[in-house]
């Protein structure tokens, strides 16, 4: 299995999902070799054996090298690829581009190890390419039945491993380029890699039907090999935190990156509507992102800044604290492949409103669902949960039941089936 991150050192939800999923698979007697670019040694290895790609030298022989280069020719992308880049930065990178043939680069690296950062920095594409080379080495040195690669960063590694070993490849789509940019503004280079991975894969797993549709429609992938396996959530170590709430008012929370994808502006507009009817509420936008300043200006302009608070980016303990503070949780995402945070909110006994444009909406029956753009409906739902205790209590109870049903064990069983199909060539 190829991943990019694994708890405890994670930047997003991908590492958490990998952790839960591998634990679930272990219960179904699947042995997993988990390869990641930069392991720090304190990962939970109860369910998997971690392979740190930074420790693996390039050991292909010269002739192999040539054929390997042919095999990985899809990686002819210069290293100026960064997942979230603005035009100015791009010019800087383009200016400093190294004009060295790939073969020479490989020659330099032969026998050496590549020190991966495992982060999402400026050298990302170089890391992705080197990761694929190490993947080939690892594939030739280990025995296994199926290859499983998580998100575009590891697709290249998956393909390389498949070409070296001939084993079937399963690609797991947690997010697509269309979830990162708007529909007409996506990174085409990432798109190409994603598409290449999906085409090369024997099976494609998507985290929701929403994502499955994107994979089929926007990437042109054969529907018969795309299977949805909804994420689950692991709350074994989940503890409610007790907090000293400083305010008596009820609190409505938005928690996530403040970017176009997450729909912060709809939350703000709905908040302004609710405050007109229910002035004793407070709204919190926790997180940061490129729309943060615009959001602050909008809140000031609406004249609700004494009831609408920004916390900035929150870390581990503070996230739990924030949930414990909340009376309503809202995820107004414009596009969300899955969305784990509403589940955390529900586990913390917080009534939850989610947008219909999120993958998690497919598995939650009792959460209140609205279209992200329908701020009237969103305001209605917020008001209802604030003003009518019966509604919020039911939402809490049903939410808790529902979230307890979402187990990685069940998701893992479906994934195991996908493995069997891939191996059988069905």
């Amino acid at each position: 299995m190829f991943g990019w991150e694994f708890p405890p050192h994670i930047a997003g939800g991908l590492g958490t999902a990998c952790h839960g999923l591998t634990k679930g698979l272990a219960k179904h007697d699947v042995d997993i070799l988990f390869v990641m670019p930069s392991a720090s040694g304190d990962e939970d290895q109860s369910a998997v054996k971690i392979v740190n790609a930074s420790d693996v030298p390039f050991t292909q022989t010269w002739s192999d090298m040539q054929t390997f280069l042919n095999k990985v020719d899809f990686l002819k992308v210069s290293s100026n690829l960064v997942p979230y880049i603005d035009p100015q930065l791009y010019t800087e990178y383009a200016g400093s581009k190294m004009e060295k043939s790939e073969f020479e680069q490989f020659k330099v690296k032969y026998g050496s190890k590549y020190k991966f950062s495992g982060k999402y920095g400026a050298n990302l594409m170089e890391e992705v390419a080197s990761y694929a080379m190490v993947a080939a080495t690892i594939a030739s040195e280990n025995t296994f039945d199926v290859i499983h690669a998580h998100d575009w960063l590891t697709y290249a590694a998956g393909i390389a491993a498949k070409r070296v070993s001939g084993k079937p490849l399963v690609i797991h789509v947690h997010a697509t380029s269309f979830d990162r940019g708007s529909a007409d503004n996506i990174d085409t280079r990432v798109y190409e890699i994603e598409r290449m991975g999906m085409l090369a894969a024997d099976k494609v797993i998507t985290v929701s039907n929403l994502t499955r549709n994107i994979v089929i429609n926007k990437y042109g992938i054969d529907p018969s090999k795309v299977i949805t396996v909804h994420n689950a959530v692991d709350f074994n170590e989940f503890k409610q935190v007790d907090v000293q709430r400083g305010v008596d008012d009820k609190i409505v929370t938005f928690l996530g990156r403040i970017t176009f994808q997450k729909g912060p502006e709809y939350f703000i507009e709905a908040a302004a509507k609710v405050l007109k009817r229910y002035p004793k509420a407070r709204f919190v936008m926790a997180g940061n992102g490129d729309l943060m300043n615009r959001s602050i200006r909008r809140v000031a302009k609406l004249g609700i800044a004494d009831r609408f608070h920004f916390t900035g980016f929150l870390r581990g303990a503070d996230v739990k604290k924030m949930f414990a503070y909340s009376d309503v949780y809202v995820m107004p995402s414009v596009s969300e492949p899955f969305g784990i945070s509403p589940l955390e909110a529900m586990k913390s006994n917080v009534p939850t409103i989610i947008s219909k444009q999120s993958g998690v909406a497919e598995v939650l029956k009792y959460a209140i669902k609205v279209d992200f753009w329908d701020i009237d409906a969103m305001a209605d739902a917020m008001y209802g949960l604030l003003a009518y205790p019966a509604l919020s209590q039911m939402s809490m109870r049903c939410g808790m039941d529902e979230v307890n049903e979402l187990k990685w064990e069940n998701a893992a069983l479906k994934i195991k089936d996908v493995y069997s199909m891939a191996i059988a060539g069905e």
Partner: protein, 408 residues
Amino acid sequence: MDKSLCFYFQVHQPDRLRLYRFFDIGNDSQYFDDFANRTILRRVADRCYLPMNAIILELINKYQGQFKVAYSISGVALEQFEKYAPEVLESFKRLADTKCVEFLAETYSHSLASLISAKEFKAQVKEHAAAIKKHFGVTPKAFRNIELIYSDEIGAAVADMGYNVMLTEGAKHILGWKSPNYVYTNAINPKLKLLLKNFNLSDDIAFRFSDRSNPNWPLTSEKYAQWLNEAGKNDEVINLFMDYETFGEHQRQSTGIFEFMRALPGSVLANTNFKFRTPSEVAQQHQPVAPLHVPFAISWADEERDTSAWIGNELQNEAFHKLYELEKAVMATKDASLISDFRKLQESDHFYYMCTKFFSDGAVHKYFNPYDTPYEAFINYMNALSDFKLRVEKSAVKSAGKAKKASK
């Protein structure tokens, strides 16, 4: 007739807020970063207040009454001196004893109250006058609103409080063809005389002194005296108004600013027919030439010379109005600690940090600014203000409860 040269220095340090987080609302009502405030005050005291006060005292003694200056020290700065640098307060007292120094009236909290609340404005001016009386034994007679903010109405309100001279900016868009180098009067109440800042000559010292790209660098006291002669050929008064922190802080000691100031009175007295006078003396000495119409508030800040450095963008407007909405409720509580925090939250600096005009006047706005962006300044301020509002509401509920019991 003698011409007048009038130096006035603004002395102010704000109470900067600490990083006040959302989770603190309702739990912790300590808003201010005492450590940063103390550290900065100590630094400025060592670089500016103490050495510059020593120079001014030396000059006053040397020229035996011919060299005079005026100060306006905000009440919050006085408080900080008492707490963190009593020797600065002592050195100001020694200056006061020479009788060659005039202390001006202003709002105690360095607030923008004059723009929104006549009541608060008056109360704070009274509070400040009492503080000056307490420390320096004099009652201020001339008025200077913070940052030279002025309009016809503010002027009339100041005249009503019994002041007969006020300082403001010689803003081009107000003066037009008129010269700032005369005494004017308020358009509503002609009893109030106006002294206008000559911003060219003031900024030559305050902003351009160490600018090596300026063709006139280096500036010497002889050269400056010559400029004064040229500028004052037909005019009567030149008002040089600036931040006191210019000396040693904005213009470092290494620029030679202290030597310049040490030499300036000698050059002026020897080569020009200017006499150093304090604002009150200038108003007595010179006849006003005309009323000055200022329908909208002006100030000495930025290129616009208006109040947009503090109130202008939506962040500042929101914070400003949410703060003054509380005025009645705060005053009704009669709670000393609430009123004290209310006044500290009014300090204009909090709003200045939220200014988004970063490109044209960025350098000035960044100085002493604890925040990276105006947005952070706004969030932090609103969090603290939210807590403050909760306290006001709780106090109001309590006193209402008491009133009920009493009536029973």
